[in-house]
Amino acid sequence: MNAHEPSLNGSPGLPKSNEGDPVFDEPWQAEAFAMTVRLHEKGVFSWSEWAEALSHELYKPGRRADASDYFDCWVAALSRLVTELSITSQDNLDRLTQSWQRAAEATPHGKPILLENDPER
């Protein structure tokens, strides 16, 4: 990673604490943030590619007035980047998303949710 490359903490609109750390309403938001940090550190995309993808989602019409959908936009931007970079297809991502949902529903309490729990896999 380029030492002069800004960190993802500087992402436009990122909710932060008074100390300047990112804050998350739910665990999945922190996971999405962490994945993006790793991909950026590995040089999978540059800061400007990320900032552009995120801004594109943030400035779409129909956003919630209270910005509570900030990380929805974040995940949409990340999804868009990984498909544009041909890491996966939108179709594959959608199918896998549904598969995880079926896996969760099929997992009884007390067992970890695993992708292979999807009855259709």
Binding site: S17, D21, P22, V23, F24, D25, E26, P27, W28, Q29, A30, E31, A32, F33, A34, M35, V37, R38, L39, K42, V44, F71, D72, V75, L78, S79, V82, I87, T88, N92, L93, L96, T97, Q98, S99, W100, Q101, A104, E105, T107, P108, H109, G110, K111, P112, I113, L115
Partner: protein
């Protein structure tokens, strides 16, 4: 206590079974991204967990510490928490799926409480904050039930032999919060300062509340 006493019977709630676990669209989408990126060798889930853990104190409202502080300073609230934790916690404005159906278990000089959970999707992070990474490991759960004293010692918590340890297993319907013992020498602290002493680990029973000197 024996492991039989410690474990809840998961078969009690067959009618609820289908609703045990659910991923929101966003949760599922993030899992899908993680799966693909891991398969492609672009991320390592352990590295992601490690990054997330650094934000442990930055996720969710983490209002459990304030619940504990209030219980320490207000006997009436403590009593309410003991009899109906769900309502007592909700009275502070802390509601939401993960905060529902809570039960508070109180540490005493005689008894220490420890909570286990498989993190299927019922971990009450809104109240407790993010779970520790090792919480996900199946060996933690099984060992905590069989040898809670040994597990606690590994976390640096050595309890007197005479202290009983009770292990509580979260169910789909009921989640636990441990009310740790109030540290000595905290009589003059206000709610805010008391809440600062209440760690995530102390509310799942793998730690104790911090000593008084740690208040900010």
């Amino acid at each position: 206590m024996t492991s039989e006493d410690a474990m809840h019977n998961h078969d009690d709630h067959d009618d609820e079974h289908d609703h045990d676990n659910h991923f929101s669209d966003m949760q599922a989408r993030v899992k899908a991204l993680e799966t693909i990126l891991t398969q492609k060798g672009l991320i390592d889930p352990a590295a992601i967990d490690a990054i997330v853990e650094t934000y442990e104190t930055k996720v969710g409202p983490r209002n459990g510490a304030r619940v504990v502080a209030k219980a320490w300073s207000e006997p009436d609230f403590a009593e309410w928490l003991r009899s109906d934790a769900t309502a007592a916690i909700a009275s502070l404005g802390y509601t939401g799926r993960q905060g529902e159906h809570m039960r508070a278990v109180f540490n005493t000089p005689e008894t220490h409480n420890l909570v286990v959970c498989t993190l299927c999707s019922c971990y009450p992070w809104a109240v407790l904050g993010l779970p520790p990474v090792w919480y996900k490991a199946p060996p933690y759960r099984s060992r905590a039930v069989i040898d809670p004293r040994g597990v606690l010692e590994e976390f640096g918590v050595t309890l007197p032999e005479t202290k009983k340890i009770r292990v509580w297993d979260s169910t789909a319907e009921l989640r636990y919060i441990v009310i740790p013992e109030r540290p000595a020498g905290t009589e003059d602290l206000d709610h805010e300062a008391l809440a600062d002493l209440v760690t995530r680990d102390s509310m799942i029973g793998t730690g104790l509340a911090n000593p008084a000197g740690d208040a900010r």
